[in-house]
Symmetry: C2
Subunit: 195 residues, 2 copies
DNA sequence: CTATGATCTGAACGTCTGTTCAGTTAATCA
DNA sequence: TGATTAACTGAACAGACGTTCAGATCATAG
């Protein structure tokens, strides 16, 4: 059979990643077959193996690059002045970044159990590093007497869960704009830490 | 082949549900086969069909009875006096109930996408009813001037996400007791709504 | 002691799975 | 023009999937 068009421009690799991300997020890793991903790209299943070693690597690479992007993007955010400003910056960054990449976020949170043990360790460590960012802000704020957090670790987990939850309900077609959502979460976070 | 013991006491049904709940929570619905569930129960795969119509019904029944239990258990909680007391009662109830049934909770939140459309509608409606409980408490509190919540719906989603998140990190072997966790979350929730 | 009915086995079904690979196609380079 | 190489197909592999069912097994009732 002839190919549809003559373009051999080499954009198939990214298209495989995009299709996998979309399908994994929608249906779950285990429920998506390599043939479904291939069909989404417009290619036969065998061709996928030019771009990935196997299905597991596809998942792992998606999660790893998502978490690396997340850390890198955070480090590009100008450091705030004092714990309160840094907490607000983190809150806004987290919501903005998560709303912009809902599929990648969904996968990173839901498909940990689909990772083989070795891969799991890598991803878990990256996740931990991101949570440490918030924990450090809270610890500094508590030490400075700016925040009231009886337990820093618990507060970290509680706030991360609250913020990440925005992805479960926010829709662009909804009632609130992204900026408004950011503002409202900032209010709640500030009050939750007693600042 | 002979059976292991002569007991025909009829406890296989519940054991199928338990095994399915455990395995679905651990590996995900799509990743678990009927043969794995059967092996966990100590039976051949065909025997499962004496207790469930098919795999999908197994998932649906687990989710439905979990959510029904949740609503029923909440209705058994004595109604608090005023919005602040009701919010504390809800917070404590939610955490206690969720920590007691981590597998069922995990499934109810993670496997919505594994439900066929018709089943999804039913489960989604039950979930909505539970969220409405919290939303009503917040609305009443805001109306009475006891809470400061600029947006009731957003606050509902934010608090539910925060509270449910406890299941992702809490371990019995950990640093904090369940009661202590309850207390700390209550503090954060109270402050988050400005009470 | 036989009959009944519930419980379960073991094999079978058609289909789908991830992955490999020899061969085809088309663009690129000398 | 001919050789090279990257991109891709289509078929094949062995095994797993959900589900069905005739027949075996066994506690109990009559």
């Amino acid at each position: 059979m002839a190919r549809k068009s003559g373009s051999h421009a080499g954009i198939t690799g990214p298209r495989v990643r995009d299709a996998a991300e979309r399908l994994f997020a929608r249906h779950g890793y285990a429920a998506v077959s390599m043939r479904q991903i291939a069909a989404e790209v417009g290619v036969q299943a065998g061709a996928l193996y030019l771009y990935t070693r196997d299905k597991q690597s596809l998942l792992f690479d998606l999660m790893q690059s998502h978490l690396r992007d997340l850390m890198q993007a955070w480090q590009a955010v100008p450091e705030g002045d004092g714990p309160a400003a840094r907490l607000e910056a983190f809150t806004r960054f987290h919501i903005r970044h998560h709303l912009a990449r809902p599929d990648a976020v969904f996968i990173a949170y839901m498909e940990l159990r689909s990772l083989e043990p070795e891969n799991f360790k890598v991803i878990e460590a990256l996740r931990k590093r991101y949570e440490d960012v918030l924990e450090e802000i809270l610890r500094d704020g508590a030490a400075a007497g700016v925040f009231t957090v009886p337990d820093t670790k618990l507060a970290t987990m509680a706030l991360i869960a609250m913020l990440t939850g925005v992805n479960t309900w926010y829709r662009d077609s909804g009632r609130l704009s992204r900026d408004r959502v950011e503002d409202l979460y900032c209010d709640m976070v500030r009050r939750a830490v007693g600042a």
